[in-house]
Symmetry: C2
């Protein structure tokens, strides 16, 4: 299982590429900006080639990518980034060039599904077969394992775009999602916090009312995910969740909104172990990509 | 696969028990009111014993039950109805007495998960491995297959209790859920329609404004389930959905609320095949119980 592999965390603004066998053995890592597909993917391939010279052959590559994308092996468009609004990246074959250049098995999934793989392998979701991983940052996304399998289905989830109660008298901010206005991402992403309060989220004091409101939207979202998926745990990552003081606020409001309806000790008595930060912190994506690569080896 | 089996659809007000091999071969069926557990379960057992005398041995029993319940084989409380508010039924072992009396393999799951099994086997979800089944009636519930497996996780979903946008100026009705007020069930179940408009849903004319509002809540719920689970199809059953004119309204509003964000032809071009009535109609539960029984035979 612990063969030397490569991982790519392909974000909308930067790529992180790493080579290693796990969190305690990352042999090399590089970051560079996401520019045009051919250059950016080419740079990742060059990095892995160079690492193979230094550290010996890699056994597989795992890719955690921004989406929407096609994660279904066997589909004619498997391995492509599909309908993204990101200029130049629409209908970009990502797996194909990597596979042809390196001649290795390549795993490919959404950034959040791959982060979930990392958390299941080495982080806060070890031993669980049904949990979700949410990232709350520039955007909001979610993935996870259900019955031991990554969530796919029609395409893959877009958890950031669920609709929530929005009291426009208490919070007149209209939301910042270009598609939906006040969906979860429109109300609770980093840019939404900045748009509502006129300053970057990271500069708001711990006692600023922004955080109680943020916790309310996140709690409503968590309640909806609990009622829809019945996960065994919910991992909340992403830049906004670096505000650790959000966790107790979210947990309390989740209990309050569920109102005792889901009678599980995990929620009623042990919620601090139910709604948790990622065990791998901000490294869940790139380490998840290594774990996904190792999964390709059966 | 098509051995003679028994199925129980155990609802909060009535039990339906059937013996057969599938939708075209139901040999016997009986209905009786849900009273105290020992009497009601005993009556089901008596029915199956008598059927075995008439039709020969049954190979297994499937049970579709109201919940909350424990559907996880291997759990110490597997086969019990757990925290239900229904008088007398809390912590009732359902599978145990059936298994002891009939000495047969017994399958046990939520009414909606079992209806989903029926739809997958003989109804509107044949060939799909990720879809959801929602019932909109006296209550609202949802289940389904994700990656080919029934949705369980921490317990099982409670899809009727998600929170949705509720414009109290346009719709001042506070909702009727005793736990959450204006959750999905509180806003859109049969009793909610009756409570809001002062007359039973079934007596409201097709052009009554009740239906546009109902379609709006159902569409918001479907949007949230699409964004969370990415199902390949959504089956809408239950008494409220006997109003067939709701389907086009819900479909149109789902497209409107998703606003092109989920770029799948299933949603953009073929939504009439994406949001559908149950192929087995109101028989999905009891026939699903037969299908669940047959699944116990490997």
């Amino acid at each position: 299982m612990n063969q030397l592999v490569g991982g790519i965390e392909a974000g909308g603004t930067k790529f992180v590429c790493a080579v290693g066998t796990g969190p305690d053995d990352v042999r090399a890592e590089v970051r560079f900006p996401t520019i045009a597909p051919a250059e950016t993917i080419g740079r990742a391939i060059d990095f892995f080639r160079q690492q193979q010279v230094e550290h010996g052959p890699l056994a597989a590559i795992g890719i955690a990518a921004f989406g929407p994308l096609d994660p279904q092996p066997g589909s004619p468009t498997f391995g492509t980034i599909t309908t993204t609004p990101k200029p130049g990246w629409r209908d970009t074959d990502f797996v194909g060039p990597v596979q042809r250049a390196l001649r290795l098995p390549v795993g490919f999934d959404t950034d959040v599904n791959v982060a979930a793989v990392g958390e299941a392998r080495w982080g806060a979701a070890q031993g669980l077969d049904s949990f979700i991983y949410l990232t709350i940052g520039t955007g909001i996304g979610g993935g996870g394992l259900i019955g031991g399998q990554l969530l796919h289905g029609l395409i893959h989830p877009e958890m950031g775009h669920i609709r929530l109660p929005h009291d426009r008298q208490a919070d007149p901010y209209p939301g910042c999602c270009p598609f939906h206005g006040d969906c979860l991402e429109g109300l609770a992403s980093g840019p939404a916090i900045e748009g509502r309060w006129g300053q970057p989220a990271a500069t708001l004091a711990v006692d600023h009312p922004a955080w109680a409101l943020e916790a309310e939207y996140l709690a409503l979202a968590v309640v909806n995910f609990v009622c829809t998926l019945s996960p065994q745990r919910i991992v909340l990552g992403g830049g906004v969740m670096d505000q650790q003081h959000l966790f107790p606020l979210v947990r309390r409001k989740v209990q309050q909104y569920l109102a005792g309806y889901v009678q599980s000790p995990a929620i009623l008595d042990r919620i601090a172990d139910y709604i948790v930060p990622p065990g791998l912190g901000s490294r869940a994506g790139v380490l998840g990509a290594l774990a996904l690569a190792q999964q390709q080896l059966g």
